[in-house]
């Protein structure tokens, strides 16, 4: 991570970026001196005309934290909660006395980890499933999947609604560090390069936050949707979606990364070769378009039987 320098060594004027930078520093200083954490969202909305977009604020905050070599929470800037979890096995006790009790029928916002005093996990918790997309998460919640009788015990559903924010990654990472190693922590993402990248963010962390450790979950396992197994699930090739140039670029960038596991590379290559991809919802495409019965049947039996693999000690090793 390079130091921020002004004036910029570029053709563009530095006045606005300097103003944006100083404004963010100002907010951070205010939050620290008043001991009142602010959020990235608050900072953006205080001066939309200056910043232009939320991502400008987000990047500045990450840059400042990296330059000062402190976790973002130390700057008293919190992310707005984005991720959701579902499952009564998890209770979070917050600083200040509040308690967030997980529900088996609806999703609750995942609080930033700096707000969490301690977790309480039911000893009967037997699995954790991270799903990429909110729509799939909500469907599973409404079906009370976390308590479904077909599964070996109560579980926890988590979604980051796409690329996960820090709070979501911290929750998954904490579960990874603290749960008994026999409890599977699994991820289900779309069978496309971005889905696999999201999987990579949860499992290995992301480049621009690499200065802040403890956000990765190496024991996270990829449970699907595997592009290569769609045919055996009866998915017609013609229902697969053509890849876009965007997908191709992301696919090649992932293939270039040294730590992309072999199994992931095979799947990504196959998407490029067939010039197709698939979303999780393809599993229920034949019926009424909702991720429902077929998804629920798929999940316990995917990856060669998620739960039986773990009971039997697993056969896939550590590469995915």
């Amino acid at each position: 991570m390079a130091y921020k320098t002004f004036p910029h060594k570029s053709r563009h004027a530095s006045a606005k970026p300097l103003a944006q930078f100083l404004r963010v520093v100002d907010h951070i200083h205010e939050a620290l001196s008043s001991e009142t954490p602010t959020t990235k969202r608050d900072i953006y909305y205080k001066d939309v005309a200056l910043f232009g977009s939320q991502s400008v604020v987000d990047r500045l905050i990450d840059d400042i934290a990296a330059t000062m070599d402190v976790p973002r929470a130390d700057l008293f800037v919190r992310a707005s909660a984005k991720g959701l979890f579902c499952g009564s096995s998890l209770v979070m006790h917050l600083h200040g006395g509040d308690t967030v009790r997980g529900s088996d029928s609806e999703g609750l916002l995942i609080p930033p980890s700096e707000d969490i005093r301690r977790f309480e996990v039911d000893e009967r918790l037997s699995w954790v499933l991270v799903v990429e997309k909110e729509a799939v998460f909500q469907t599973l919640c409404h079906l009370q999947f976390s308590r479904h009788p077909a599964l070996p015990g109560p579980g926890l559903l988590i979604t980051g609604k796409g690329y996960p924010d820090v709070a979501t990654r911290q929750l998954v990472a904490s579960l990874g560090q603290n749960l008994d190693s026999r409890i599977p922590i699994l991820a289900v993402v779309d069978a496309d390069p971005f889905g696999i990248d999201i999987l990579s963010v949860y499992k290995y962390g992301s480049n621009n936050m690499s200065h802040q450790g403890d956000l990765d979950t190496p024991r996270l396992r990829w449970a699907g949707v595997m592009f290569s197994e769609l045919a055996s699930l009866g998915i017609e090739k013609d229902t697969l979606i053509p890849i876009t140039k965007h997908d191709e670029k992301k696919a090649f960038s992932m293939l270039k990364r040294a730590h992309t596991p072999k199994k992931w590379r095979k799947e990504i290559q196959l998407m490029i070769y067939t010039r197709r991809k698939a979303e999780i919802e393809v599993l229920s495409a034949s019926q009424d378009g909702h991720a429902n019965v077929q998804t629920m049947t798929y999940l316990p039996t995917s990856a060669g039987g998620i739960f039986s693999v773990y009971k039997g000690g697993g056969s896939e090793g550590t590469d995915g």
Binding site: A231, E236, Q269, Y273
Partner: protein
């Protein structure tokens, strides 16, 4: 009439991933190129590997040989095109098609060596064919651009066996045929509305058989007469596969077409009756098939080699015609 084809043997060692291309050459050697990045040379009788190229980090998406079977051209997923000279045993040329020169363009996807081995054709994202030198001193140097008029992804390009024409099939189903010497587009066929992943020329360069995601193969009469009158185009449809047709090859005697499909079968079609005369069951998607170029013995309908999803190269031979 129906034919039976028997499984002769499997390659001694499987590839670590799917085989995407196979070729049986007139030197009676078999080459396989795989998603695992490796290119292997096999002895068809023993099923053993005799030579192989060091594996790439990315899969090999296209492979082509010259008419003698003395040179093998191959291209990786990212567009690194290389030439293996079998006489010297050396890699005689490398071209990084993904390096954007002043001419721009997209990386190469499908490549085809001219029967003489002097040039090669490449197609890909630009939707055109580009012709390049295959001589080691100037390997990859662009000689000509043959525009199709559209920017749809070129999935396959192949020179005709007589070297006078080069064809290209696209992701949206069009097939373009160019005159090599005149560098001109001669014909465009729109017999398919879905991607044509591959196609095959007949040995006499008069017929082109397309393999499409629409589950069909179509025979095209592409005779090119001196008067300029083209052949009649699409003359017959070969239906029967239940999923994408991935590959096709015409037998050395011109009587049969062999196809491989995502439905995990290979089919042999009689070109005079335009019907399927044999179906061979495989265990996974069949990505590539190749007839033995040596004309079949009397009473036999030939031999071929196949490669697919499980990475195992398989040899098959006719049990002899019946009926």
């Amino acid at each position: 009439m129906s034919l039976a084809f028997l499984h002769v043997t499997d390659g001694a060692e499987p590839h670590a991933d799917s085989i995407w291309s196979v070729a049986w050459t007139p030197q009676d050697q078999v080459f396989t190129a795989s998603a695992d990045g490796s290119l292997k040379q096999w002895n068809p009788t023993s099923g053993q590997v005799s030579h192989s190229q060091p594996p790439h980090s990315l899969g090999i998406v296209s492979m082509s040989t010259d008419s003698n079977g003395k040179k093998v051209l191959w291209n990786t997923l990212e567009g690194l095109t290389s030439l293996w000279d079998l006489d010297s045993g050396e890699v005689a040329g490398k071209w990084e098609s993904y390096v954007r020169g002043s001419e721009g363009g997209e990386p190469a996807w499908s490549v085809s060596l001219h029967p003489s081995g002097s040039t090669f054709a490449a197609t890909g994202g630009s939707g055109n064919i580009t012709i390049h030198s295959a001589e080691s001193s100037s390997f990859g140097e662009r000689k000509a651009t043959l525009p199709s008029g559209r920017t749809k992804f070129g999935l396959c390009t192949k020179y005709s066996p007589d070297g006078t024409r080069v064809a290209m099939s696209s992701e949206t189903g069009q097939i373009y045929i160019f005159d090599v010497a005149a560098e001109k587009l001669i014909s465009t066929y729109t017999s398919h509305a879905m991607a044509v992943r591959s196609f095959a020329w007949s040995p006499d360069s008069q017929l082109l058989v397309s393999a499409s995601e629409d589950k069909r193969l179509i025979m095209h009469d592409v005779r090119h007469s001196p008067s300029g009158k083209p052949g009649s185009g699409a003359v017959a449809t070969l239906s029967g596969h239940t999923s994408w047709v991935l590959c096709a090859d015409v037998s050395p005697d011109g009587r049969f077409v062999l196809s491989g499909s995502a439905d995990k079968t290979m089919r042999i079609w009689d070109l005079s009756t335009r019907t399927s005369v044999s179906t061979v069951q495989d265990t996974g998607e069949v990505w590539s098939v190749s007839w033995r170029p040596k004309p079949a013995q009397h009473g036999s309908s030939g031999e071929f080699v196949s490669g697919g999803e499980d990475g195992v190269v398989r040899w098959w031979r006719s049990a002899g015609a019946s009926g």
